[in-house]
Symmetry: C2
DNA sequence: ATCAAGTCTGAAACTTGTTCTAGATTAGCG
DNA sequence: CGCTAATCTAGAACAAGTTTCAGACTTGAT
């Protein structure tokens, strides 16, 4: 029964992934391994930049990064894992870049909106890459949860940074989660051509109002 | 070049789909065709209910609905199209059901949250089906835009119904869009096991506050 | 330096979405 | 009714993600 076979395969995959994710320091990669990993992520981002999700073909990634297909799958157990890892990589860059020039807005809401719009403009420069990463992120199933969660934490960190809020209240954390939801979904609608850039901007600004609404000193 | 071949294929597909979507009345299906379409959607929902996105295999759908594979593809040009159509179908049901018992909340925000939570509970009864539909929806690319847009309009209608707002302001429409974003994205996080039911509830309630914030008579 | 364990490679095989083809069936029309 | 175009069917073929395997190469420990 093929369906059953696939299910078993997935179970195995999950186990493997969790083993690695649970103890990232337990498998200290050698230099050459680190280099391989880098080459793979680079090839992935390159192919994605060219043609989006569909253009990232595992065989091509393997070839571009000078690695056997089996090895590619050892490093990243699925195409989705690979693209989510690519996103993690890009997000780190982004966070570093954003840190350098903190947003200037008066209110926390303004600063968050400004930061997200800056990130959005960065994504617009590589729309195909954005497509690949965001599609992978929202298509990911449970087997990729740890990695997707990591991306989510990183995004949260960026937003909290912009808020300049050291100890957010639970209410504020809810607002931040909602902002992230809006951010991802708005990106999707933009990428699939159902919303304009202007509309994304409005949506971001709209949702950011929630921040002021939940500010500890501005309780209604 | 295989990539190019695929691109061309997609272009063709888009053209075909638009032709049908642009003039739904231009192709009045015969009775048997209508029956076939129904059988296909039914099989799709059935398989999805059983095992989610992965369990909806085109060959199986074709077999279950007593239709040749080529015919299935004539009716629904891709698996994503099929699942989005399945979602349209389910949404209509849902809208009908929700209409029967209007929400009881005092404020518009409460009523919308109540309605969405009711829909959420319905989805919880068939989590695999929800998985298949929502994943398809967010994974859909430009070639499915018309259909996805239709789903979006239907969702908007449900929310506006709950608000009891005949003539929403542009500001309110923004709020509704943000609510939809949050709705979809929160569902995804729940389906992939990264958020609990309680968390989804909080997020929905949080985002619904935007409605009161943008109510025409409650401008701050 | 040597051995065992783990890793990498190249290639083939398998799965499932998608396309294609040749022939049978059906629908609509004169 | 009889024709023609459209539709449907069965089945092969193809594309890309994923798995598997045998053999070559590295690594780390003794």
């Amino acid at each position: 029964m093929p369906a059953e076979a696939k299910v078993n395969a997935k179970v195995n995959k999950v186990a493997k992934v969790e083993a690695r994710a649970a103890a990232p320091a337990s498998a200290p990669l050698t230099e050459r391994q680190e280099a391989r990993r880098r080459r793979i992520l680079h090839a992935s981002a390159q192919l994605a930049s060219r043609g989006g999700f569909d253009a990232v073909q595992m065989r091509e990634v393997a070839e571009s990064s000078q690695v056997a297909l089996g090895t590619l799958y050892r490093y990243f157990p699925s195409k989705i894992h690979l693209l989510v890892a690519t996103m993690q990589d890009q997000l780190e860059h982004m966070h570093g870049t954003l840190r350098k020039k903190p947003p200037q807005g008066e209110t926390a809401a303004e600063r968050v909106a400004e930061t997200l719009m800056r990130a959005f403009r960065a994504l617009q420069r590589e729309p195909h890459l954005a497509d690949a990463m965001v599609r992978a992120l929202t298509f990911a199933d449970r087997s990729v949860s740890p990695e997707v969660d990591q991306v989510s934490r990183q995004t949260t960190a960026i937003i909290l940074d912009a808020m300049g809020q050291e100890n957010p209240t639970p209410e504020q954390l809810s607002a931040v989660r909602v902002i992230e939801h809006t951010w991802h979904s708005a990106l999707i609608t933009w990428l699939s051509g159902r919303a304009s850039i202007a509309q994304v901007k409005i949506d971001i600004e709209t949702v950011c109002r929630l921040i002021d609404l939940t500010a500890p000193d501005a309780r209604k």
